[in-house]
């Protein structure tokens, strides 16, 4: 008999989160100047933090997001061998 299982994708989540984090850092710094360029150290640190947050969010999302329904129905159970379900 088959049973339902959940397949998760934390590595994919990290990679897509990385992409989102890099683009977010770009827009926040260079396009809309939400964050300022105060010191080189502070800018570099915030840049890394934004990207890391993206990665972490992606990984967490891989675990907490509502699962997608299975694409296929549960496979039919194979026929039982003779005597397999007999009571002892």
């Amino acid at each position: 008999m088959t049973e339902q299982a959940i397949k998760r994708h934390p590595v994919r989540g990290g990679l897509f989160g990385l992409m989102l984090g890099i683009s977010a850092a770009y827009f926040l710094y260079f396009q809309f100047a939400v964050f300022g360029f105060d010191t080189v150290g502070a800018v570099a640190t915030r840049f890394v933090i934004i990207i890391l947050v993206g990665v972490i969010v992606g990984v967490i999302w891989a675990y907490v997001a509502p699962p997608k329904a299975a694409k296929e129905p549960a496979p039919a159970a194979p026929p039982s061998a003779p005597g397999e379900n007999d009571e002892a």
């Binding site: 008999m1 088959t2 049973e3 339902q4 299982a5 959940i6 397949k7 998760r8 994708h9 934390p10 590595v11 994919r12 989540g13 990679l15 897509f16 989160g17 990385l18 992409m19 989102l20 984090g21 890099i22 683009s23 977010a24 770009y26 827009f27 710094y29 260079f30 396009q31 809309f32 100047a33 939400v34 964050f35 300022g36 360029f37 105060d38 010191t39 080189v40 150290g41 502070a42 800018v43 570099a44 640190t45 993206g54 969010v57 992606g58 999302w61 891989a62 675990y63 997001a65 509502p66 699962p67 997608k68 329904a69 299975a70 296929e72 549960a74 496979p75």
Partner: protein
């Protein structure tokens, strides 16, 4: 159909996130402070765009200080070394602006067509820098001094006549003339993001206590070789600071330099009771932003990342037989 709906919702969220800051930056209020009395030198500074601030005129070419660095005198290697040195130092800085000391003046930024963009004044007292348009504190992170990177910044500066100023320097062979209180044998420096951008000094044997100048940012940024990045389109908030100390180069014919890494406490310590000025605040460059290619790449990256999180990262239900191993990971 639901998938298209989710994609549309994602696009709207991204649009909202990126458009809100841009809309928040719009402001067209007229000036509330008359800056006319500050403009003690210059011709043709007349208000053309009706915002209450005189638009760009002309100043005669002046003379650099004897110990002034030429703009861009620092080599790329020296600049790189300075940047590398600063990276380990994570500095948590305040949001307010500072101008300490017996100096003040007016600064007006102009766009590339000579129309005024922003203006601020300091009366040389203990009050902070004042935004000429709003009358509130200027150069804070929330109200930075707005500058067109392709434009010009004009300034009129002064020092107050205080008895604590030196009346003459002590460089051998320099005739300081009649003793007058002002900065002598002084050294000054300016830094952007904690990295020294320019510095200089002068014996000031003419006892200058007024100065006016134009900073042609468009020409300076346009001449810098920054590869595919056009700094005249820069859009960013940048922290800048500067300092000057009276008699710091006293007795040094080569002009003693202020430290590259400085703050108010260090300048006070270096001044050691002599007159000084220290200023720090935020400047917002209001260029058109990065080139379209960079923004397009970042937009594609954002869309791919968001779509990936929405459609390819969510856990998936599957079926397994009790004898098979559980499947985890990608």
């Amino acid at each position: 159909m639901a998938r298209y709906g989710r994609a549309l919702a994602a696009a709207l969220i991204i649009l909202g996130v990126v458009a809100a800051p841009a809309l928040a930056q719009e402001d067209d209020e007229p000036a509330v402070i008359d800056v006319g009395p500050f403009i003690t030198r210059g011709e043709g500074f007349v208000d053309l765009n009706g915002d209450g601030i005189p638009d760009l005129g002309e100043l005669d070419e002046g003379f650099a200080g004897i110990w002034d660095d030429n703009v861009g005198a620092r080599t790329p290697e020296e600049f790189s070394a300075l940047v590398t040195d600063r990276i380990p130092a994570f500095i948590t800085t305040g949001d307010a602006s500072i101008l300490v000391g017996a100096c003040g003046g007016l600064a007006i930024s102009y766009d590339e067509f000579g129309m005024s963009v922003d203006a601020m004044i300091d009366n040389g007292n203990d009050d902070p820098l004042i935004d000429v348009f709003t009358g509130e504190q200027a150069m804070t992170s929330g109200n930075p001094f707005r500058v067109d990177p392709a434009g010009v910044v004009a300034y009129w500066g002064f020092t107050r006549d205080l008895p604590n100023f030196s009346t003459a320097g002590e460089i051998a062979g320099v005739d300081y003339g009649e003793a007058q209180p002002s900065y002598h044998d002084h050294s000054w420096t300016m830094a952007v993001m904690g990295v020294t951008a320019d510095r200089g000094g002068d014996p000031n044997q003419r006892d200058k206590n007024r100065n006016a100048g134009l900073v042609f940012l468009g020409e300076i940024f346009g001449d810098l070789d920054t590869g595919p990045i056009d700094l005249t389109e820069l859009r960013a908030n940048v922290k800048a600071k500067g300092a000057i100390i009276d008699l710091y180069a006293e007795g040094d014919p080569n002009g003693r330099r202020l430290p590259d890494d400085f703050d108010l406490a260090l300048i006070e310590a270096e001044a050691d009771g002599k007159e000084f000025c220290f200023g720090e605040g935020w400047v917002e460059f209001i260029g058109s932003g990065p080139p379209l290619t960079a923004t397009a790449i970042a937009s594609i990256l954002a869309a791919a990342g968001f779509a990936g999180l929405m459609f390819n990262v969510r856990p998936a239900q599957t079926w397994r037989s009790p004898t098979s191993m559980p499947t985890l990971g990608s």
